[in-house]
Amino acid sequence: MDGESRNGFVGLVLVSHSAAIAEGLAELVAQVAGPSVRIVAAGGGPDGTFGTDGGRVLNALQEIAGPAGAVVLMDLGSSVLSVRAAFGELPKETIAQLRIADAPLVEGAIAAGVTASTGGSVDEVLAAAQEARTVAKL
């Protein structure tokens, strides 16, 4: 099952300054998107502080990378820098499987997760995440 989902569905990496935000959001997205989408949370600083941990982000990207691809969402500031830095450590083949979403974290992750759960391609999942920039809530 895990092997199947790894190959069949686009995965998500969630990067936040807060481990609780990243993990809580991963649970929320799993509720809405169902069990087939792999989600890796990479939140918080190296020793449980608020911040980002480049090593944790890099591990998350390596863990999620696969033929179906994955979309990375992050909150802001150093999360973005950590993702950029981690990309610098990855081989070209892995980078080709990944997309970075320029989107609000929560809304983008929900949209991306649901689109991934429909079997959407990595670029469709990216587009769904980025649609969160413009879709009104009210």
């Binding site: 929320l28 509720q31 809405v32 998107a33 169902g34 809304e107 929900i110 949209a111 997760g113 649901v114 689109t115 759960s117 429909t118 079997g119 959407g120 769904a128 649609e131 969160a132 879709v135 009104a136 809530k137 009210l138």
Partner: protein, 89 residues
């Protein structure tokens, strides 16, 4: 007639607003079809394949949804989704 347009109405269960989980289920069902599908409620219209647009409808339990589909397998899509709405939990 691959480009026919079909409209169906369906009511959400009284106790089920179209919030995140049921909306996700609805979007997954809609995404199985190649047709262009919209959902209207409360004077708003949403792309049935966009969870953010569906959530923005703000449809509470008991709301009647108008599902309109056009293009490939439109009738089948509208029929399927109209059947799903009352079953959402």
């Amino acid at each position: 007639m691959p480009s026919s347009e079909t409209e169906r109405r369906a009511r959400l269960p009284e106790t089920v607003p179209l919030h995140a989980r049921p909306a996700g289920e609805f979007v997954r069902a809609a995404a199985q079809f190649p047709a262009e599908i919209s959902v209207a409620a409360n004077g708003k219209r949403a792309n049935a394949k966009s969870i953010l647009e569906i959530l923005a409808l703000g449809a509470v339990g008991g709301t009647e949804l108008v599902i309109a589909a056009s293009g490939d397998r439109a009738a089948e899509a509208a029929e399927h989704l109209a059947g799903l709405v009352p079953q959402l939990a």
